[in-house]
């Protein structure tokens, strides 16, 4: 079992224009791309939306990580193709895959380039209460830790003869118990330790907290925001008046 897929959402410090953007801009980017992906189901339009996302991946030097995350979803894509072709059309399955690729890419760009601390600050600037924002950023910070722990649990159980058995759904689910229970127990223990450690540092004792770092909109952020909103409005107009677009954009597979 591999947790490579998790890597696609783990922040890495780099100095690129994407990393230096304000987290709120990147959140807007991810949201607008996801909404656009849901709005359309034409293969060519989705494909062009997907292509237009490429510059961001390249500017952020995220190509390798991005490929990993897409590769991690191959199995899901196969399922989508099989089920959609059986119960719907082949075209539908392709547009579903493109949709998911756009959404995963845009959110993995967000989590790969936003420092967990900045993530919290951007939530705070959206008027989310500090307690909730802090727990949210904390939970993201612990994703890789838990992935490592899961690997250690697999190692420990394999060392005493545990085997990943093949078989029916029920026996496979039963087979997960030796992995899941230690994982839950260890996570709960860690949660209590964190709570104690927070309490011992007087977390939440005063209402007005001092923030060491701050986030701010720069010219780059404003520029990208304007472009994104324009892009979004364009998308809505096109959706409302499909006659504006050439016919070949609406091409589908015959099956």
């Amino acid at each position: 079992m591999s947790f490579e897929f998790m890597e696609a959402f783990k922040f890495i410090q780099k100095k690129t224009i994407i990393h230096s953007l304000d987290p709120r801009t990147k959140l807007l980017l991810a949201t607008i791309y996801s909404i656009l992906a849901i709005m359309f189901e034409e293969i060519f339009i989705l494909f062009f939306i997907f292509l237009s996302f490429f510059p961001f991946i390249i500017a952020g030097q995220l190509f390798k990580k991005w490929i990993k995350s897409i590769r991690g979803m191959t199995f899901l894509f196969l399922l989508l193709i099989i089920f959609n072709t059986l119960f719907s059309t082949f075209s539908k399955s392709i547009s579903m895959i493109l949709r998911i690729m756009i959404m995963v890419s845009s959110f993995s760009l967000f989590f790969l380039t936003v420092h967990p601390d900045d993530l919290m600050l951007s939530l705070l600037s959206l008027k989310v209460p500090y307690n909730i924002a802090f727990s949210f950023s904390l939970s993201f910070r612990f994703v890789p830790t838990i992935a490592i722990e899961a690997q250690n649990i697999i190692d420990a159980q394999k060392s005493r003869g545990y085997e990943m058995e093949q078989g029916g759904l029920i026996s496979q689910a039963k087979n997960l118990i030796p992995l899941l229970i230690p994982l839950i127990v260890c996570s709960m223990k860690r949660a209590f330790h964190i709570a104690e450690s927070l309490d011992s540092r007087a977390f939440g004792s005063t209402k007005n907290r001092t923030y060491y770092y701050s986030i701010s909109f720069t010219k780059k952020d404003w520029l990208l925001t304007v472009i994104l909103i324009a892009f979004f409005i364009f998308g809505i107009i096109v959706k409302l008046f499909p006659d504006l677009l050439p016919n070949w954009l609406f091409w589908r597979f015959p099956v």
Binding site: A156, K158, R160, G161, Y162, C186
Partner: protein
């Protein structure tokens, strides 16, 4: 047992290991471990100790080089066979305890060993008795104390009767009683002819219980030899970020001050004997044993 070729149990040749994320954990390890030896593996965090032991039972496959366990290349042996020969006791018992009762926890370890039902129950009972867990038999493992959990984790490996036993940091977080238990267990398994490998940072434990030490640094073995020799050479200690055990420091100090200290004074009994007889000679003892 002697270090003869037919007693060679683990042979590691030019072993390297690269993690999928690109970290190079092992950079060319050569190592022979003979049947019945007690071997310590020491070194800084990140030196590659854990990676090395995980290649012994097939958890990690060598990137290049070979690891032979009992004349079988680990690349060609099923993991289920390897884990019967090599039992690794991991540091944190919480990573493996999951069953409803202590008894079930042992039963899980014996599941794939082709025991008949009576053999299985016998083995469970024997293990519970031996590890003083009989009274907890029907309790859930999660309510046990730290030391008891550790005992259960060790029991769940020992019941499989491996020929090679690997302990990963056995003494960490254990009270005196727990350390004493592990010390006795190692002695007992050694007398049964098992090969024992101990990854540890505990130098005082090592000098008392481990005759041979391998010191690792940065993915390589930088020293391999008698523990007392390795833990008394300043140059090696510096590279491995280790401090000499107290008795080695004391005997060095005494030697530097011109006393004739026996070579084996790094062991407590020998040092007590030496100092005792020395002091008796030099000092008058008054009535009641007080000078």
């Amino acid at each position: 047992m002697e270090k003869k070729l037919e007693n060679l149990q683990i042979l590691v040749n030019h072993l390297t290991y690269h993690y999928p994320d690109g970290t190079i954990a092992l950079k060319g390890i050569n190592l022979n471990i003979y049947s019945g030896e007690i071997v310590g593996i020491m070194g800084k965090n990140g030196a590659g100790k854990s990676t090395l032991i995980k290649t012994f039972n097939g958890l990690l496959k060598p990137t290049t080089g070979v690891v032979y366990i009992e004349n079988d290349d680990v690349n060609n042996v099923l993991m289920s066979k390897l884990t019967r020969i090599v039992g690794i006791v991991f540091q944190n018992p919480d990573l493996q305890l999951f069953a409803n009762t202590v008894e079930d926890e042992i039963r899980f370890s014996l599941k794939n060993l082709n025991f008949t039902k009576t053999e299985l129950e016998n083995q469970i009972n024997l293990t519970l008795e031996k590890f003083k867990l009989k009274k907890f038999q029907n309790r859930t493992p999660f309510t046990l104390s730290g030391g008891e959990k550790k005992r259960l984790a060790i029991a769940s490996i020992m019941c499989r009767n491996p020929k090679i036993i690997v302990f990963d940091e056995p003494t960490i977080g254990q009270d005196a009683e727990g350390v004493e238990f592990i010390r006795n267990l190692i002695k007992e398994k050694h007398s049964e002819g098992k090969t024992i490998i101990i990854v540890t940072h505990d130098i005082e434990f090592a000098i008392d219980n481990i005759p041979r030490t391998i010191l690792m640094a940065d993915g390589l073995i930088i020293a391999d030899g008698p523990t007392n020799k390795i833990l008394s050479q300043d140059q090696i200690l510096n590279i491995g970020s280790l401090i000499s055990p107290q008795l080695i420091q004391l005997s060095k100090f005494l030697i530097d001050s011109g006393f004739k200290v026996p070579d084996n004074a790094y062991l407590k009994e020998n040092m007590i004997q030496f100092l005792g007889s020395f002091l008796k000679e030099k000092m008058e003892i008054t009535e009641g044993g007080k000078p």
